[in-house]
C-alpha cells in the first residue's frame, strides 16, 4: 500500500480496448485538472485494438503528484474481468464501481444500475458522473469537460451525454460514499493537462521545428498526431515515410536545406535509423531524434514501458562522434528538453537525442502553462546574411569544431556535404592528414556539449544515508520514494539525470562520494546507467533497483525492493 495515501486518491478505470475507457479517463483527468488538483495518469494497454484488458489510472491530489501508485482507491470496472484482475490492489478504504449487471459480490463494490440511469451508449458518461460525484468534482466542471471534448466530435449528442452525466451524479450522491471526497481547491490555478509526447511536440514547435517525418510506432506515434494536427496552422510539414530509414534521411535532407527537423520512434524503428545517425554526424546536420523506449529485444512488449535503450542510443552509429542525450523526468522536462534539443542540435550541428518511454509518453499530468517567450526559436537561415569570404568552406576547421553553416540556395555560396571523409569545402578526400583533423574537429564539438550539459538534479539531505540515483521517467517515483524514506526517518537524497550524455563527473561526484549508500534505480535488467557512471568515473554502484516487467516504477515497488 502506498504512502501518501491520505493526500491522494488513485482511480483506476479498467476494461477492454475499444470500450472507451481512455475517453472517460481523459474526461475525468480534465475535470480534475480544472478543479485545481494535480494529477498523474498511467496508461496500461495491450497490443490490440479491441478486447483484452487495459487500465487508465488517474492519481489525484492537492499537492504535486509525481508518480503512479499501486494501491487503488477507486476501481472502476468497465468489464467484469477488471475486478478479479485488480481486487488485490484495492486499498483499505477502496471502493469498486461496477455495472450492477456484472453481479460482483464484494463488500467494497458499488453496483451501479447503469441500465436504469441511461441508454447503453452513454454508460461511459454516466460512469464519469458517478466517479466525479464520489471524488467531489463539481458537476458544472465535468459537464464542461464533456462539452469540450465530445462537442468537437459529436456535437449532436452532447446533450444526451450531459443527461447521462447528470444521472451518474445523481446516483452517486445517494451512495454517501464520501471517503474519497477530495478537499476542494479554492482558486484553481490554470493548469495544462498534457502528456509527455504532447509536451515534446509543443516544445519542438516553440523551438522552431518545421519538418517532422515519421513511421508509426508505439509509443512515439502521438507526437506525430499532435504535430499533424497543428501542421496547417503552423505551416509545418509532417510526412509519413516509407520506412524509418527514409524518416531520418528525409529529416536530414530537410535540415540540410534549412528546416529545423525532428523524428520520433521506438527502439526497433530507431535501429533502422542508426546508419543515418552516423550520416548526421558526418555531414554535421542538426536533427533531434526522440526514442520512446518500450520493452525489447525486437518487438518485445510494444505497448509497455522500459528504460532499456540507453547504451544502444549512446553508441548507435558506426564511427566516433559526439552527441547529446536528454532524458526528461517529467512532462515539464519533456517540453524544456525538447526545446533544448533543438538549440543543442543547431549549435553543434549534430544529432541530439531525447530518450523517453511509454510511461512518460502516455502519462497526462497537470502542469503550469509554459512561458513561450524566452530564447528565440532556431532559425538556421538567420545567419545567411553574414559576410562569408569565397570560397565558402562548409567544414572550415575552427577552434570549437563548429563551422559556419550556410544553406543551399540562399546565398551566392555553394554548400557541399559528404558522407565520405571530406575536405573543408565538403568534397570527398583520401588525404589522411585531413582525416585526422576532421575527426578532431568533430570530437571537439563534444567538448562544447560537455560544457553545456544539464547537471543532474540533486534533492534532499546532504551526506545522506541513501542516495537514489535515476534518470529519465523514473524521477517522480524516486522523488516520492525519498520523501517516504525521509518520513520514516531515513536521511535520503536523490540524483536525477535529465541529460545522460555527456556526463560531467564534476557535476555529481561529490554527491556520490558523500552518500553512505548509492542505489541506482533503472527500468532495465542490467543497470545501464550504473555501468555508464562507472565507465566515466570509476565509481561502482553495486546496489540497484531494477524493473523490466513492462510497468513503470512506483514508490511502492522501489520501497519493496529496498527492503530486500
Amino acid at each position: 500500500m502506498g504512502r501518501n495515501e491520505g493526500n491522494c486518491v488513485n482511480v483506476v478505470i479498467g476494461g477492454e480496448a475499444g470500450q472507451g475507457l481512455v475517453t472517460v479517463g481523459q474526461l475525468l483527468a480534465k475535470s480534475l485538472a480544472r478543479s485545481g488538483y494535480s494529477i498523474l495518469v498511467t496508461q496500461a494497454y495491450q497490443s490490440r485494438i479491441r478486447g483484452g484488458h487495459n487500465t487508465f489510472a488517474v492519481r489525484v491530489g492537492i499537492d504535486e503528484v509525481m508518480a503512479p501508485q499501486e494501491a487503488i482507491d477507486l476501481l472502476v470496472a468497465f468489464s467484469a474481468e477488471t475486478v478479479p484482475l485488480h481486487r488485490e490492489e484495492l486499498s483499505a478504504r477502496g471502493l469498486i464501481l461496477a455495472d450492477a449487471r456484472f453481479n460482483i459480490s464484494d463488500d467494497a463494490c458499488l453496483h451501479v444500475p447503469f441500465e436504469k440511469l441511461t441508454a447503453e451508449r452513454y454508460i461511459n458518461t454516466a460512469a464519469l458522473g458517478v466517479i466525479a460525484q464520489i471524488l467531489g468534482i463539481d458537476q458544472e466542471v465535468a459537464g464542461q469537460a464533456v462539452q469540450d471534448l465530445l462537442g468537437k466530435v459529436h456535437l449532436d449528442i452532447v446533450q444526451e451525454n450531459k443527461k447521462a452525466l447528470e444521472a451518474g451524479f445523481g446516483w452517486g450522491k445517494e451512495q454517501a460514499a464520501s471517503a474519497l471526497h477530495l478537499p476542494s481547491v479554492n482558486k484553481p490555478p490554470q493548469r495544462l493537462l498534457m502528456n509527455g509526447n504532447e509536451a515534446i511536440a509543443l516544445g519542438a514547435v516553440s523551438a522552431g521545428l518545421k519538418f517532422y517525418s515519421f513511421y508509426p510506432m508505439t509509443p512515439s506515434t502521438s507526437i506525430g498526431i499532435s504535430l499533424a494536427g497543428w501542421a496547417r496552422e503552423l505551416g509545418l510539414i509532417v510526412e509519413q515515410a516509407e520506412d524509418e530509414i527514409a524518416v531520418l534521411n528525409m529529416a536530414l535532407g530537410a535540415s540540410f536545406a534549412g528546416a529545423p527537423s525532428m523524428v520520433a520512434t521506438a527502439g526497433g524503428g530507431f535501429a533502422l535509423m542508426v546508419e543515418a545517425v552516423s550520416l548526421a554526424a558526418m555531414t554535421e546536420t542538426p536533427v533531434v531524434i526522440v526514442v520512446a523506449q518500450r520493452p525489447a529485444p525486437a518487438t518485445g512488449l510494444p505497448t509497455r514501458t522500459e528504460q532499456g535503450d540507453l547504451e544502444f542510443v549512446l553508441h548507435a552509429g558506426h564511427g566516433e562522434f559526439p552527441r547529446a542525450v536528454f532524458a526528461p523526468g517529467s512532462v515539464e522536462q519533456c517540453f524544456e528538453l525538447a526545446k533544448q534539443s533543438f538549440y543543442t542540435a543547431e549549435r553543434y550541428q549534430s544529432p541530439v537525442f531525447i530518450l523517453t518511454d511509454q510511461f512518460l509518453a502516455d502519462s497526462y499530468r497537470t502542469i503550469a502553462p509554459f512561458a513561450l517567450d524566452g530564447t528565440p526559436p532556431v532559425q538556421p537561415w538567420s545567419t545567411q546574411g553574414l559576410k562569408i569570404e569565397a570560397p565558402y568552406r562548409r567544414f572550415a576547421l575552427t577552434d570549437t569544431g563548429v563551422s559556419p553553416r550556410l544553406l543551399p540556395g540562399l546565398t551566392e555560396h555553394l554548400v557541399v556535404a559528404d558522407s565520405d571523409e571530406h575536405t573543408e569545402d565538403g568534397h570527398i578526400t583520401e588525404d589522411l592528414s585531413m582525416r585526422t583533423r576532421m575527426v578532431l574537429k568533430r570530437l571537439t564539438k563534444g567538448e562544447g556539449m560537455r560544457s553545456e550539459a544539464v547537471p543532474p538534479e540533486h534533492l534532499g539531505d546532504g551526506k545522506p544515508e541513501v542516495l537514489l540515483l535515476c534518470w529519465g521517467s523514473s524521477r517522480g517515483a524516486v522523488l516520492e520514494t525519498a520523501a517516504s524514506l525521509r518520513s520514516q526517518g531515513v536521511r535520503a537524497a536523490t540524483l536525477h539525470f535529465s541529460q545522460v550524455w555527456p556526463l560531467v563527473p564534476e557535476q555529481f561526484m561529490g554527491h556520490l562520494q558523500e552518500a553512505q549508500r548509492v542505489i541506482c534505480v533503472e527500468g532495465n535488467a542490467t543497470g545501464q546507467m550504473a555501468r555508464l557512471i562507472r565507465q566515466e568515473t570509476g565509481f561502482h554502484i553495486e546496489e540497484r533497483v531494477l524493473r523490466y516487467d513492462g510497468l513503470p516504477f512506483t514508490p511502492e515497488y522501489i520501497l519493496r525492493q529496498l527492503e530486500h
Binding site: 516509407e242 535532407g253 540540410f256 534549412g258 555553394l414 556535404a417
Partner: protein
C-alpha cells in the same frame, strides 16, 4: 545565365573510357542550356561510382549514404521547393539498396529529377551483380551467374504511372542532355535510367552492346499513351528504345501538399499560445 564552364571541370576518380563521363557532360550541358545557376541546384547522391558525379561539377551537393539519396532529396525539396533538386546515383544504389525509396518517390511524385547511372553492375565494389544485371551474369560473387530476374526500372515506373519516365544512353549525349532538360522542368518525379558501360567490370553490356541496340524513339511516339509506354518498356534484348517513354500531368507532391517553403518561415508564438490553450 550559366554556361557549361560555370559548372567547372574537375579531375575524376573514374576509369578512362567509363560511361560516367558522358553522363557528366550531358548534365552540365543540360543545366547550362536551361540557364540554371549552380547555386539554385541541389544535387543529392548516394554511394558508388555514379554517386561521385556531382563532386565533379559546381553546385550544392549532399552526398549521402548508399541507397538513401531519394529520401534526403525529398526532405530538401520539401524544406526549400525553390531548389532544383537532382539525384544522381547508380543502379545498385537506386534499385538495390534504395528500392523502397524508389517506389515511394514515384508514389509521392516528388518534384525531383532522378538520374540513374545504370551500368548493370556494382562498380565501386568491384563488379558484383546489380539489380539490373542480366540473368546469368557471371562475377566473382556470382560464379554460377546471377540467378535473379533483372529489374526493369522503366517497366515498374510506367506501371506505377510515374510522372516522367525516360531512358538515356551515355553514348548519346545530345539526346541525354535533352532528356535531362525535360526532366528538370517536369513538375513531379522524373526518372531517367541512363545506360552506360562499366569498362572495368561489365564485359557483357559494353559500348558496342549498347550502341547496337539503343535507338531513339520515333518522333511520332506519344509518351502520354500508357499502354504504348508499357509495351515499349518491355523491349530490351534486341532493341532498346531511348527517349521519353511515359509522362503524365499528375500534380507534384509539393503542390498537392499545399505548403510554401519551410526555410525562412518564422515561428508565430501567438499561434503556439493558442494551441497551448487547447490543453487547459
Amino acid at each position: 545565365m550559366a554556361s557549361v564552364k560555370d559548372y567547372g571541370q574537375y579531375e575524376t576518380a573514374w576509369c578512362p573510357g567509363c560511361g560516367n563521363f558522358g553522363i557528366l557532360l550531358a548534365v552540365k550541358r543540360a543545366l547550362a542550356a536551361r540557364g540554371i545557376e549552380p547555386r539554385q541546384i541541389l544535387f543529392v547522391s548516394g554511394i558508388g561510382q555514379a554517386a561521385k558525379a556531382p563532386h565533379y561539377l559546381n553546385a550544392n551537393l549532399f552526398n549521402g549514404l548508399h541507397g538513401r539519396s531519394l529520401p534526403v532529396a525529398t526532405g530538401a525539396k520539401l524544406a526549400n521547393p525553390g531548389l532544383t533538386v537532382i539525384v544522381e546515383s547508380g543502379d545498385g544504389c537506386t534499385y538495390g539498396e534504395g528500392g523502397n525509396h524508389f517506389l515511394a518517390a514515384i508514389r509521392r511524385n516528388i518534384d525531383i529529377t532522378m538520374l540513374v547511372h545504370d551500368n548493370q553492375v556494382y562498380g565501386l565494389t568491384k563488379g558484383q551483380a546489380s539489380p539490373t544485371s542480366g540473368e546469368g551474369f557471371v562475377t566473382k560473387t556470382q560464379p554460377e551467374g546471377s540467378t535473379s530476374a533483372p529489374f526493369n526500372p522503366i517497366g515498374v515506373a510506367v506501371a506505377m504511372r510515374a510522372g516522367f519516365v525516360a531512358r538515356g544512353f551515355a553514348g548519346m549525349t545530345d539526346l541525354l542532355s535533352d532528356l535531362i532538360q525535360q526532366a528538370v522542368i517536369h513538375p513531379g518525379f522524373a526518372l531517367i535510367d541512363v545506360l552506360h558501360p562499366c569498362v572495368s567490370f561489365n564485359r557483357v553490356n559494353t559500348w558496342e552492346w549498347y550502341q547496337e541496340r539503343c535507338e531513339p524513339l520515333p518522333k511520332t511516339y506519344d509518351p502520354t499513351d500508357w499502354n504504348a509506354a508499357m509495351a515499349i518498356a518491355q523491349q530490351w534484348e534486341e532493341r532498346i528504345p531511348v527517349g521519353v517513354i511515359y509522362r503524365n500531368a499528375r500534380p507534384p507532391f509539393t503542390e498537392r501538399m499545399g505548403r510554401g517553403p519551410l526555410v525562412g518561415q518564422g515561428v508565430d508564438r501567438d499561434k503556439i499560445k493558442r494551441i497551448m490553450g487547447g490543453f487547459l
